[in-house]
Point group: C2
DNA sequence: TTCAAAGTGTGACAATTATCATACACTTAT
DNA sequence: ATAAGTGTATGATAATTGTCACACTTTGAA
């Protein structure tokens, strides 16, 4: 079965080459070690971040210590809130999931760019529109078909973002632990582990050196009643 | 206890008076009867909608017939996707929840406005930013503290959007059925009903002529571990 | 004013998901 | 080679939530 896999659909591609160049010019690249916090919830949202290399997770911690991960961003992704010309605070926290090089764009600079080159604000609007749709369909996926559907949809998203087709199936270029998956779907490590075992028994996935290989993408799609959303929003 | 209630925080107030006026000028007001669809999921997102009067719900139906309601909008709310200068399709459906008068703004007109008066795009960006944060914290509320937490947070949002303080407690100016509430939190009518009965026993709510009265807002806040988000995003 | 439709209340039970406990595998540092 | 740390696998059990069934109440239109 011919399964198209389009990995590395990064959200900077929403910007025109010229505009992306402009952003690169004004940003200041900073290093973050794995585990370092890029911004905390509650912080003023006055910067945007562009990932030159590495990986970042955006998440929220519950009082009882559980985390909910909203997104993982990697090379060539832009993230942060664009609370343009007005104060807003982050509701989620961003943390380096791997060592990162991150280009930081100050609100001020973005505002200036938008004023002197108003077409770039169109690109920002597109970008926000994608981010917004991403969150909406993620919510749908997490609520519609139980934790099983939520996990299936997450595996599909992983295929899109980190999948590499091999003769054995689709391998991931990045490993996520059972806990990582649990935090992505608002569940527990144990539940995720059991669901993965079940998927293995059913032949939908297998393991290669401890990491997941997707064998039957279509089967995963039936579990979450996949609607074949555009790939730039069906991502991790 | 002094409970501040700030209802009718409508998202058009994000726009400056002048800009809101501009929008009003270019929009075409149309009537929608209760139950009529304003746009279907899958439709091209090429219009924005401004509610002159009435109420609209934005939702998604699962294959098994269950609905998930993302938001209710009412007078002075602006809704729709702003997929500026590029094609996108709606992922949710919008339907008149009451008879409505709705101002329709064509993508083309918005684009023209933005080009000739670039500061208005700032307002659109702010608006999108709010909508996006709304969805994020809604997701948090639906996933963190079980269905009970989800219901409590929804009642709090209702207080902000439709609450009116009286000597008996906070009454709602609009009624939502148990099913409506269930669709807002991704649950079932029966479960919502049982949770409401429990809240009644605990004295957090009561009933007045069949409609819910909030007696103890603080108690609801403890259930969902309320973080006192800004009122423009803590709404229905 | 009466009847159908829509909404509510609740029991009994099933399914899903979380929690707690424990064993084991695998890596890495000493 | 050993111990500590991290991650996986799985049983037993509890808690949460959904499903089905049915009675009752309220509402609104003929």
């Amino acid at each position: 079965m011919d399964q198209k896999i389009n990995h590395a659909i990064k959200n900077i591609t929403i910007f025109s080459k010229k505009h992306a160049e402009l952003l690169r010019k004004v940003m200041t690249v900073t290093d973050y070690k794995k585990g370092e916090t890029i911004y905390w919830e509650g912080d003023a949202a006055e910067k945007l971040y562009f990932i030159v290399s590495g990986m970042v997770k955006v998440f929220k911690s519950a009082d009882d210590g559980k985390d909910l991960v909203l997104n993982y961003f990697s090379t060539d992704d832009l993230f942060g809130e664009l609370a343009c010309f007005g104060p807003t605070n982050y509701t989620f926290t961003a943390e380096a999931a791997k060592d990162c090089k991150i280009g930081v764009l100050k609100q001020r600079e973005i505002e200036l760019l938008m004023l002197e080159k108003s077409e770039i604000s169109i690109d920002f609007i597109k970008w926000m529109s994608y981010m917004s749709q991403y969150t909406q369909i993620k919510m749908r996926d997490l609520l519609f078909y139980g934790k099983n559907g939520a996990l299936a949809s997450t595996l599909i998203r992983m295929v899109h973002s980190y999948g590499k087709e091999t003769e054995n199936g689709i391998q991931f270029t990045t490993n996520f632990t059972n806990s990582d998956l649990a935090q992505l779907i608002g569940s527990t490590r144990e539940t995720v582990n059991r669901m993965l075992q079940a998927l293995k028994k059913e032949g939908a996935i297998s393991y290669n050196q401890g990491s997941i290989v997707v064998k039957d993408l279509d089967y995963l799609k039936t579990i979450c009643h996949c609607e074949e959303c555009p790939l730039h929003i069906c991502r991790l």
